[in-house]
Symmetry: C2
Subunit: 464 residues, 2 copies
């Protein structure tokens, strides 16, 4: 016997279509299957969504929320769905609300050093446009070419140059947000300073679509630094030795803008993927960059590298060669992912604990006989161990789960976080109490209830 | 006939003394009169507090809040009470809760680039200690030598080098806070990145003691930049011309760490105070600094200054001379304040609007026949017009009120904020709707109610 159904799906979809004036309401099963899970996370959707709504205007978003409130339908927001923590996987019978087509750069202002964009604007596109004005958009996650400014603001994404220019939170000055009740509010400013209201802008940055739907982002753009940009490679015995050098460079006053670490196995995978021969050099590779450097910065960096066992240092100011080196870091993911199924992890520890964390990850891999490729934004103490397992295994193997648990606990024990830049999603929400404590976990729920009392915005993740 | 009193003051003070194990409970009238108003704001206290509690421990703070909840007593937190917006002025029959004596630097960690401090630690002391480790504490408000890290976190104070190193919010990584209900919670991390929970750390930064009492602050410390630090002076026809140059330097990729503007009247007041002769030069003075500069940064800065009418440029790498130049900016306040009663204002506008704002302030002064001294962190678009009036006038003159209103409205119209770095206090809380809008104003009240349902924490200011 069927469960009693108060409202048929047809009725709900009709209401939705009536409420969405310009966007597209898709209910085609093939398409819904395609968007059921996001692209890079572990697939945690528990069934097909009812509809995929491609919003074009704020009114579309308000319409989706109106229907959602009426029928108590969960709304899963997304732009390009590049979450690695199953942040935009569907809930059965939910609405997937895409703002990917709200992708206009509304303004780039050179004097103010700000851009105002719709949420679906791709990172790379904003950066490309900004550079025409002598500015750049700093956040550069691995997904820079395919992820959006709005999505990055929702997750507080980081990247390679976070070490100098900060994470997405540090670039977001203001937001427009549609709340669960349909009101659009404006937060923050386009000034470089504000000490007025409560910092609600930063409450929404990193809230992963659980508090509201971002409709506009005002970001700061940095001037392209004057002087040489020097990009380079150095090789170390192992990740522990590399980490020691990185911590020292970071504290030296050389202000590097990139300090990326790749372990021996990752370099081997890269060689295989790229046809290069870096793995002949040593056990761990450091990619570094200094922007607007002066002699003292460069010389100090070289001295630390030499003193801490850095070998085969190669530096260049040639933009083409620099791009090739940076591409190594960007190609790391496909090179590693080619080896099977994966979960890419993301912990950050205090810089003094980076070497210990690197060493621990290696021990976990050895003990559990797992294939773990470790890379990371070493300059931020941010580590990405990627665990690979056989392509034909169903679900996440027990020893992978065990490894994750061990690594997470270790990061927390070292005073770190289990999410440096990938957010929480459906993959890590069960860790809230352990990272934040029971009191802060409860406060998060109270704030959620304040903004979204019906729990229709991206439920079952982040804090839920 | 007296109002019926449920509890005598004696009973309340006895309860307070029982609940405060180690701190000092002061009820001496002379002392209470001394702390009734803070030192630099317009005096807005509406009567004597019941007691000044000098807390030494978290337990003391919890005890004060326990008595405050029991008898519904407003609690006004303070450290060194250097607010310029009457942020820590008393409420009649309130408790003034001082954490000034909780002033220990708990830890400075060179490798992690963090310090953990109690709220009462003086900015300058933390900076001095950090420099022994090759690091520095960036926030440098005019009150650096007398204001505290906890107070600065409460107000999101800025300063001269905010232009490069950010405001206090950008240096705060984590907080411990005692909530109105007495629970102490821990927010944030000591890692340089975190994308885990809602950003409650930044909700508390700048919340002006209305959401909780800060008991510990974890701040990032920056490495002292390598290479020359170049400090200098240049003179311009007027503040408008200066502003145009500043906006261009700021966008050039020279990454200055100081761009301070002083108008002609301020320079004259300084000359009188210091016995110097800068006012002979021109109509506005720019103080600038470049840290870790390279040739291109320096040359570009020089070129822009020359092109935009900068005269008598003088640059130095001599630390002693640099300190003398910087001291000019620091002495600006006493030099101006010496001329009468004052209100020092604090607006920030988008950089492209800085010249227009400067020009407008001059017009307001002319039209209302007011003595206005304008200085500011020009590189942040942050303007501090100080209005001076006769020492023997009672209250704030009407034309001063009128000038404030005109300048605030203009800043808002230009897309700015009426508080760049001095917060809201009791001086600007009536502007919430105008700057933030009714919806956001209401959300602020909802958040306040969530954390402090009895409204005992610093009521009548910020949002109230």
């Amino acid at each position: 016997m069927n469960k009693f159904i108060a409202h048929s799906n047809d009725e709900i979809i009709r209401d939705l279509q009536n409420n969405v004036p310009t966007g597209k309401v898709n209910t085609n099963t093939d398409l819904l299957q395609k968007v059921e899970n996001d692209q890079y996370g572990v697939k945690l959707a528990d069934g097909l969504p009812l509809a995929l709504i491609e919003a074009k205007t704020v009114k579309d978003i308000q319409g989706v929320l109106k229907t959602a409130r009426k029928y108590h339908i969960p709304v899963v927001p997304r732009t390009t769905a590049t979450s690695t923590v199953s942040g935009s996987d569907a809930i059965a019978n939910s609405f997937i609300l895409s703002t990917a087509k709200m992708n206009h750069i509304k303004e780039i202002n050179r004097a103010d050093q700000v851009a105002v964009v719709e949420p679906g604007v791709i990172n790379q596109e904003l950066d490309d446009e900004a550079r025409k004005f002598g500015l750049f958009y700093a956040p550069d996650p691995g997904s820079k070419k395919i992820s959006s400014v709005g999505g990055n603001a929702s997750t507080n994404a980081g990247g390679m140059s976070t070490v100098r220019y900060g994470a997405t939170k540090d670039s977001v000055l203001g937001l427009k947000v549609v709340l669960a009740d349909g009101r659009e509010i404006k937060l923050g400013t386009r000034t470089l300073k504000q000490a007025f209201g409560y910092n609600l802008t930063q409450l929404f940055v990193g809230s992963e679509g659980t508090l509201g739907i971002i409709t506009e982002v005002t970001v700061r753009l940095f001037p392209i630094p004057l002087g040489d940009s020097i990009t380079g490679l150095a090789f170390f015995k192992d990740m522990k030795a590399l980490s020691t050098a990185v911590t020292e460079i970071r504290g030296s006053g050389a202000y590097p803008s990139m300090l990326e670490a790749l372990d021996a196995d990752t370099v081997k995978a890269l060689d295989k993927y790229e046809g290069t021969h870096y793995s002949e050099n040593a056990g761990a590779m450091l990619i570094l960059r200094l922007d607007s450097s002066n002699d003292q910065m460069l010389n100090t960096t070289k001295e630390i590298l030499a003193k801490r066992g850095g070998q085969n240092l190669h530096l260049t100011t040639d933009p083409k060669e620099a791009a090739e080196i940076t591409k190594l870091r960007q190609d790391m993911l496909p090179a590693v992912f080619a080896n099977g199924q994966h979960v890419m992890e993301d912990m950050a520890v205090p810089l003094s604990k980076l070497a210990e964390m690197m060493d621990y990850i290696k021990k976990v891999a050895d003990q559990l006989h797992l294939e773990i490729y470790t890379a990371g934004h070493a300059g931020d103490g941010n580590v990405h161990p990627t665990i690979i397992w056989s392509a034909d295994t169903d679900g996440i193997p027990d020893e992978v789960q065990k490894a994750l648990q061990l690594m997470f606990r270790k990061a927390l024990k070292l005073g770190g976080t289990i999410s440096g830049e990938h957010a929480v999603g459906m993959l890590k929400n069960q860790w809230n109490n352990e990272e934040l404590g029971d009191d802060v976990d409860m406060i998060q729920h109270q704030i959620k209830a304040l903004f979204d009392p019906m729990n229709i915005l991206n439920p079952k993740r982040k804090i839920d």
